[in-house]
Symmetry: C2
Subunit: 336 residues, 2 copies
């Protein structure tokens, strides 16, 4: 059995996520799920669901860490919160393989670093969503916001972590790693990217060079490496542009359509595209670099998100992503 | 007469841009245009155009700086290129108000800094396109690529330059200046943005705080300040997302449309939206911070771009943008 912790309480709609967790139990017959939270609430919500109850376990936790709380203070003070209980079990139970949480990025990051702990050789864990690409695949953007200020070696470590994810989840043998930059030529970039490029070249990854942001979602790359500031700007401008484009397109279509045309098919198409571009609907963002895999799902995720997330987590655990990264880092430090 | 230099030769299609320059003469009765380049070629192309020939002057220049040349080397070696001749006239002729060039960003930047010169008090000139926003307005993104590595004071100077542009071109009295950041809260950000925010607060600009990249094109801000690396990523990811979205939407519409629907109106709508999102079609990117205003138009710009660009340049010269910035910088240095 693969043991996965699912913390639904830190999010906006735990009810939906509880149903989704029951669906995940149905979808993955070799997975055993542990839900930290209020047992009475969980039992009541699960009562309506039809699933193998023997593979879902409740871990009592009376508190909830809210989105607007200071992450460090909340982690220290709310020892009986679903997130802290979950992270503590993840650290202490050798059988617990990974954790999925709908909590705030800051709180998950804190618990990941201070409770679960970093992989030896990784300076800074990073947040990494898997974004849908034009060709129907995915690209791992690392870091998208955990580290606004990065040293070159962090970026080299991100290249290794991103490679591990794409190998583990999608079975890509040699993920193509690109460095997000202002131009493709070697001499382009900032002091940070120039030094990072030299370090990434010495990593056991398939580094294909610099990439301009307009190529991010083309499917030509599997891993996009950048500091958390740049990754955050990239991710959010994709989101903002898609939203603006949708609104503008619907306006233009209404203006240009022949009188009497039923535009329902255009509206549905816009919804389809927006949903396909939204990485949240397919899972979440990985917190990479901790001793066990952790995934953040969006606070406003819905029931369908959970089975996707659990399936991805299952792949990460089966592939022993953390073990693989650790051995590579040990080899690298031995070579120095 | 307002004297504007227009260098069309450094671009991909000088023929189109020459026609566009004649149109600009027609569109602006108080503008006198100087075109550096091969006189014979220019005369032949202009022969077909109907316009007031007395307001267009040819400045002989036998060389062209190509897109793939090293900017510094090209500037030094090609003294008789259209770009170097144009920049030299801009510096030496007190009546020359500004220059528009279709050359490469690097070459224009070099000529701006080393020939035309920086405004006293501006450490680094910056590139700033005016991007169309959701509400039909524009936002000035500064810097979008001239300076990959920035010090906090550069960003504070960008805030001042961006404010000057929006006042000069659009007559906005107090342009709303935002700092591109990973979150809206004051404590969010990198070491660079935290220090920059403190400096921008002391500038004579209307600083409204941090902005997340997803808000860039909403129209809530008039000036977006960031380092050139971040600005480049923001600009190019907007472009890449719009392209991806267009392709995906057309696919979805073709899949979802009732059989036999004529989809021409959807295709036209996609083209409309793409053209409206494209800042190149409405002008170009400003090189701000030099002693006279300089604008880069896209190498692949068309005839319609030139009158737009000339009109904007005319506004910048009439508003004495450079003079205004200089006085503010003098006042600031006096206060210190």
């Amino acid at each position: 059995m693969i043991k996965i912790i699912v913390d639904v309480f830190s999010g906006d709609n735990p009810q939906d996520l509880i149903k989704g967790t029951a669906d995940a139990v149905n979808a993955c017959p070799d997975v055993h799920i542990i839900m930290p939270g209020d047992p009475e609430y969980l039992e009541a919500e699960l009562a309506d669901c039809s699933f193998d109850r023997s593979r879902l376990e409740i871990l009592p936790a009376s508190e909830i860490i809210g989105n607007d709380e200071s992450p460090t203070a909340a982690m220290r003070q709310k020892k009986d919160s679903s997130l802290v209980r979950g992270a503590t079990l993840l650290k202490n139970d050798p059988e617990a393989g990974g954790m999925i949480s709908a909590g705030s990025t800051g709180a998950i990051l804190c618990c990941g670093i201070f409770i679960v702990g970093r992989i030896r050789g990784i300076d800074r864990p990073a947040l990494a969503p898997l974004l849908p690409t034009a060709d129907g695949g995915h690209v791992c953007l690392i870091d998208c916001g955990a580290n606004a200020d990065c040293r070159p070696q962090y970026l080299a470590q991100f290249a290794l972590l991103g490679t591990g994810v794409m190998q583990s989840i999608y079975g890509i043998e040699k993920p193509r790693v690109a460095l997000v930059n202002v131009g493709e030529e070697d001499h382009k970039g900032s002091a940070l990217t120039n030094e990072a490029a030299n370090l990434i070249k010495r990593m056991p990854v398939n580094f294909v060079g610099n990439m301009e942001a307009r190529e991010a979602l083309t499917g030509r790359y599997d891993v996009l490496v950048c500091d958390g500031f740049v990754g955050n700007v990239l991710l959010k401008s994709i989101e903002g542009t898609a939203r603006l484009y949708s609104a503008k397109l619907l306006e233009a279509v209404r203006r240009n359509a022949p009188a009497g045309t039923d535009l329902a098919f255009v509206e549905h198409s816009v919804e389809d595209v927006m949903e396909n571009l939204d990485y949240n609907s397919r899972g979440g963002a990985w917190l990479l670099g901790c001793n066990k895999p952790i995934m953040k799902i969006h606070g406003a995720a819905n029931a369908r998100t959970v089975p996707h997330a659990v399936r991805q987590m299952r792949s990460m655990i089966l592939a022993d992503m953390v073990g693989g990264i650790s051995s590579k880092l040990k080899e690298l430090s031995g070579k120095r």
